[in-house]
Symmetry: C2
DNA sequence: ACATCTTTGCAAATGATTTGCAAGTATAAA
DNA sequence: TTTATACTTGCAAATCATTTGCAAAGATGT
């Protein structure tokens, strides 16, 4: 219960709790879609939190496994919450507007597939990104 | 025959042929692994070709379908030749040394898989990147 | 409260990629 | 060939996301 609450997540990952981190983590948890550092900053700057702090938090949260970075080839990095309710999945990025969407889980045992792809290698993570035109840009 | 020769590729894609472009395209075609703009520049700077020109060529060649960009999440972009002898495939990037390797083709009809993933969307390209430790860094 | 280690805002630095511009080059018409 | 026009390139400066140095502020254990 309440496993995905900011407060609890910081505690179980042994992360020093500060106002900035709690605020930023809340912003990530509240977002349905992956967010860029800039977007997150827009949500928290009114509390005097700096963009550099957002970046530092993303680095820390990524190491702690609380967020996953999604690297758009535009050079932008988006961050999404990584908890049991949000398992790894592919992403769709619109070439026209740059918007990002999460795709539904693969629906089969993808880990076996990806590990087979990696063959004799130690695979620690996978990023699968499809590009195209999103529904709003298509019309 | 000779479908993957620089000269011919420029012609069949209606690309104005210049010394810089021919030289740069040769460098790409000669490379087994995807190359960064910087690496390509190292190979051609002795002929007075500027890094900016390499970037402009990569942009053009990508549009013409002669090369494919591979976006490492380090922020670096690698470029690999895109001809019938080198169909799309996944890539492996070493988290330790940053090196990139091409993986063997999937061995099944991946296009069907990726299109199903994209569902109701228009998918124009796919990037599948595995990360981990390369064989040399593992030892 | 004290000592110590960590975190943060701010400003400046990075590093890959892009762009403005003036000079050089390709292409086709004359 | 010349000439006119459009495209390409080197160079330097600009962008833009992200990182970092530093001094002040905050967290933690005593
Ligand atoms: Mn997602
Ligand atoms: Mn490859
Ligand atoms: Zn769109
Ligand atoms: Zn390596």
């Amino acid at each position: 219960m309440e496993k995905c609450k900011a407060d609890n997540l910081l505690k179980i990952t042994n992360t020093v709790k500060t106002e900035a981190r709690e605020t930023i983590l809340h912003a990530v948890l509240d977002s349905e879609r992956p967010m860029s550092a800039n977007e997150l900053h827009l949500m928290v700057k009114n509390r005097g939190i700096d963009l550099a702090t957002v970046y530092r938090a993303m680095k820390l949260f990524t190491e702690k496994g609380l967020v996953r970075p999604v690297h758009a080839d535009s050079g932008l990095t988006f961050y999404e919450k990584s908890c049991e309710h949000n398992p790894p999945h592919a992403h769709f990025i619109c070439e026209n507007c740059g918007g990002i969407e999460c795709l539904k889980p693969y629906g089969f045992d993808e880990s076996a597939f990806f590990i087979k792809l990696g063959q004799q290698k130690e695979v620690s993570s996978v990023e699968l990104i499809l590009k195209g035109r999103c529904s709003s840009c298509a019309s």
